[in-house]
Subunit: 299 residues, 2 copies
């Protein structure tokens, strides 16, 4: 089960009761944060989340509303007793930005491992992570996270191949075993690949066609909707953001299961007023709000 | 009238409903921030404060709980339409830290003027600012802010010296005037100096004797009290912080009017439980809390 919690849904500047952009994703107790605007650690505390099992922080881009919470998060993780390395992934320039922010952090009891994207071959814990360059005012990456589903155990196949029954469990768990000089591999007892769970997260950007393919078949597509109404199109074009309708169009093209809108303009105090602008295009749209959660299961 | 608002009273890490360390001081519509931990701009929005008239940000030291809110504040000030320069004051190393944090800020529509302390000869708007090095794990400064009070107008003195009555108002306002070849100076019509308003702010530090002199006769002394109870003395010594009783001792020695305790440990969820530990030493002690305010008048 992939647990998703939208820690903050605010863009640009915080408004009271709306934290800046951040998403928390957990699978089997291991956590990944995507973006961490100012206040992210407070929002995590409000949901009662621990900090020690955060294995990676993925940064879309280096605007303060997406990353200013990083120093605080790193210190609070340190305080949780973490000693294992933490990955920080981000667009080009990551090293310079992280070094800049570390001037107010001091020593950390764990190593930071930086991965500068674009990079679509990242594996952290059980997460397979891909990135896609977006179209914003600075280099910006969308992320997709994929949890692979283990193929079904095929008892017939195991019997046909005379696999000793005491090895079934280990093979089923993906382990290779050598017994009495013969090597047994998981594929000897496993059936066909099954679809895993896919999450796609994209902010900030103008709509780009490649994003629809990148988000293809996601269980959840979390996408910026800086402005609700078509009247804001000029602003959206100028500031390189999206309207609700543009995010919905991408969701439809990508045939995703559901769309959550996020990263609302501080002037958009009641985003739900504009939801029909998205639903008219993609029915299963929901307005994001701070600490909105969903648990996604394998189908 | 000097308006004081404790925007955040949390030390180290935020806890829900307790913002990190920051103080807002306003006089005649001009504002100074002392420290700006993560979330400071949200606390300012909650009290309905504007951002455009912030003339200076004074940083005690470069731990994230005192400065991580700086990028967000600078951007929100930019968004308010500010174009006049802003002063940032801090201990040695300021330039490096500000440059580091600016990696996530981009261009600002105003100039930043940095003043690296210790420096006790700073004048910004009507504020006379002094600094005092403290004893923390990194270089750290206490700040005192002083608003000078104009001496009383002395009509007898003015009459004795045959000052033309039409000049009285301008001289009283501190202006020098030349009329018919004669120079008139404010001191010709003004009485003795009168005590102004003094605020002293000190966090983080072990108690140092020089701080009592530095805070001398303050109308308000805002001082860290990381721990409430004497049982925490070992921790306070190790982490270079103060107990409530130590802050109270400094307040008493400095003969200040009132003491506000701030910068509470995240483990100190009910600081008011320990107030007697301070009051036994210095009666006019109050427990700081987020957005606690006071307006200080000339006496």
């Amino acid at each position: 089960m992939l647990d998703v919690c939208l820690l903050g849904c605010g863009g640009s500047m915080p408004v009271p009761n709306r934290y800046l952009t951040s998403l928390l994703v957990s699978y089997k107790g291991r956590k990944i944060l995507i973006d961490c605007g100012e206040g992210t650690q407070v929002s995590m505390k409000i949901v009662g989340s621990g900090f020690k099992s955060i294995d990676a922080i993925l940064i879309t881009h280096f605007h303060a509303d997406h990353i200013a919470g990083l120093p605080g998060i790193l210190l609070t993780i340190a305080n949780s007793g973490r000693e294992e390395p933490i990955y920080i992934v981000g667009p080009p320039g990551l090293k310079n930005v992280v070094e800049g922010l570390l001037t107010i952090v001091g020593g950390l009891p764990y190593e930071l491992r930086l991965i500068e994207g674009p990079n679509s071959d990242i594996e952290i814990s059980d997460f397979k992570i891909k990135t896609l360059p977006l179209e914003h005012t600075v280099p910006c990456l969308a992320y997709s996270l994929y949890i692979r589903r283990r193929p079904k155990f095929d008892a017939e196949k195991a019997k046909e191949r005379n696999i000793p029954i005491q090895l079934w469990g280990r093979l089923q768990n993906g382990e290779s075993v050598i017994l009495e000089g013969r090597e047994y591999k998981p594929q000897m007892v496993l059936g066909e690949e099954r679809k895993g769970i896919k999450l796609c997260y994209a902010t900030d950007s103008r709509p780009v066609f490649s994003l629809a393919s990148f988000a293809k078949d996601s269980d959840i597509f979390i996408c910026e909707g800086m402005y609700g109404d078509i009247d804001a199109l000029e602003k959206a074009v100028k500031n390189k953001h999206m309207l609700f309708s543009e995010a919905a169009f991408l969701a439809k093209e990508g045939k995703v299961d559901r769309l959550w809108l996020t990263h609302f303009s501080p002037s958009l105090l009641e985003p739900e007023k504009y939801i029909e602008n998205a639903k008219n295009i993609f029915e299963n749209t929901q307005i994001g709000e701070d600490r909105k959660v969903i648990s996604l299961k394998f189908k």
